[in-house]
C-alpha cells in the first residue's frame, strides 16, 4: 500500500472515530489538537486501524500512537509497500 493511501485511510478512520471533519486533521494533529481524542476514543481508534490495515499493535506501540505522524510511521512499518 502506498503512503498516500495509508495517509488518506488513517485520516478517514480518525475523522470517523474522533467525530471531526477531515479538514480539522492537519499534519500536526495529535491528542493535543483534537479535544475529542480521549483515552476511550484512542482505544477505539487503535482497534479500527488494526482492522482497516489488517495489522496488530503491541502494548507499547498503542501508547506511542499519540499523533497523526506517529500513527503513519507505525502503520507504514507494518503494512507492505
Amino acid at each position: 500500500m502506498d503512503t498516500i493511501t495509508i495517509h488518506n485511510t488513517i485520516i478517514e478512520v480518525m475523522a470517523a472515530i474522533l467525530d471531526v471533519s477531515r479538514d480539522q486533521i492537519g499534519d500536526d494533529a495529535s491528542m493535543d489538537t483534537i479535544k475529542a481524542w480521549d483515552s476511550l476514543k484512542h482505544m477505539k481508534l487503535v482497534m479500527t486501524l488494526e482492522q482497516e490495515f489488517g495489522i496488530e499493535f503491541d502494548d507499547q506501540e498503542v501508547v506511542d500512537l499519540l499523533s497523526l505522524r506517529l500513527i503513519e510511521l507505525a502503520v507504514r512499518a507494518k503494512v507492505p509497500a
Binding site: S30, M31, D32, D64, L66, S67, R69, L70, L73, A74
Partner: protein, 394 residues
Amino acid sequence: MRDIKEFAVGEKARLSHLITLEDTRRFVELTGDDNPLHVDREWAERSAMKGIVTHGMLSASFLSTIIGKNLPGPGALWVSQNIEFLAPVRLNDKLEIEAEIVEIHVRQRLLKLRCQITNQRGRQVLTGECLVKLLAKPATAEAAPAAPPRGIIVTGASRGIGAAIARKLAADGAAVIVNYRRDAEAAASVCRQIADAGGQAWAIRADITDRAQVAAMVEEAQARAGGLYGLVNNASEPIAERDFAALEWDEVMAEFQSQVGSAFGCIKAILPHLQARKQGAIVNIGSIVADQAPPPTWIPYNIAKAGMHALTRNLAEVLGPGGIRINTVSPGMTDTALIADVPEKVRLLTQMHTPLRRLGSPEDVAGVVAFLMSEAARHVTGETLRVNGGKTLL
C-alpha cells in the same frame, strides 16, 4: 561608616545642648515620668533640691546622640553603659557632652568610650563609660569592574549548538573565539555572520584533545580578544550507537577523553587568565542523558556527559573563591546534526512527551548559555540549567 581600624585611642567628640522646658515636656510625654521634682516648680522648690531638676536620663540621652552621630557614628550599637550622676541639671543649663575613646578591640569590633557631661559653669554633672560595637557594613553586591574583558572561547563552534552560542554571545557584546577542528569554512561562515551583525569573532583551529594546541589557542584568543572572560565547553563528536555487548572499554575512554578530558584541559589553560582578574565564567554543555534514563546504545556518550555534570559541580567550589563561576547547561534532544541518525519516531515521541511539545533548537540553548555568561548570573555557580521543554518533569 568608618572601619574599626580607622579609630584611635584618645579621639574625642563633643556636642552642646541647652536644656529647655520644652525638652522636659517632651521627655514626660515620651516616658510618662511626671515626677513633680521635674515638672512642678512649687513642689520642687519646697523639696531639698530647691527647684526643678531635669530628668537624669534626659541629659544621658545625649550620649546616644554623640555615639550614633559622631563617635563612632552610623553603624554603632550601644552595648553597655554605666553612669554616675554627679550634680543636678537645671532648666536652661547648657550642657557640653563629650566622649573619648579609651580602648579599641579590633577583633570584637568594640570601642570603650569615657563619657562626661559638664554644665556652663564647667561642673561635671555626669560621668560614665560605655561599650559600643561597630557593626559590619551591610552586605552589598560588589560593583562590577568597569570594563571586564570580553573574550569568550566556544569550543566546537563551527556548527549546531556551538555556532548558535557564538552568535548569541557576540550579539550580547562578547568577543568570540570560534574554535573548530575540521571545518574551516563553516567556522569562517559563523565569523562572517557575527561580523555582518556588527559583532566580533575569530575562528581558531585547535584539536581540543591536544594540550599544546589548546594552550596555543588560548594564547591567541587572549591576544585577539584583548582579554578573556569565559569558556564554553561545547565540542562533541557525533554520537556512536553501540550495543553493550559489542562495546570496548577503550571506546568509552575515548569518548570520555574527547568530552571531559578536553573540557578539563581547556579549563586548565584558560584559568590563569581568569584568575589574574578574579573574574570569569565557564559553561559546560551537558545533556539530559545525565538526568533521565539514558539511551542504552549511547553508553560512552552517557558516561561522558555525566562526567561533564560532575566536573561542573566539583569545580564550582574550587573556582568560586577566585571569582570564577562554572555551570552546566543541559539540553534535551536538540534539532542539530548530532541527532541526524535518531529515528523520526523517537524524535516525534520525544516531542509528544515534552510539555512544550517540540525539540529544542540551538538558539534555545544559546540563550541560556548567554544568561550564565552575563552579569545577571553573577551569583550563580555549580548549577545545572536544563533546556528541554520540561522533558525532565515527565
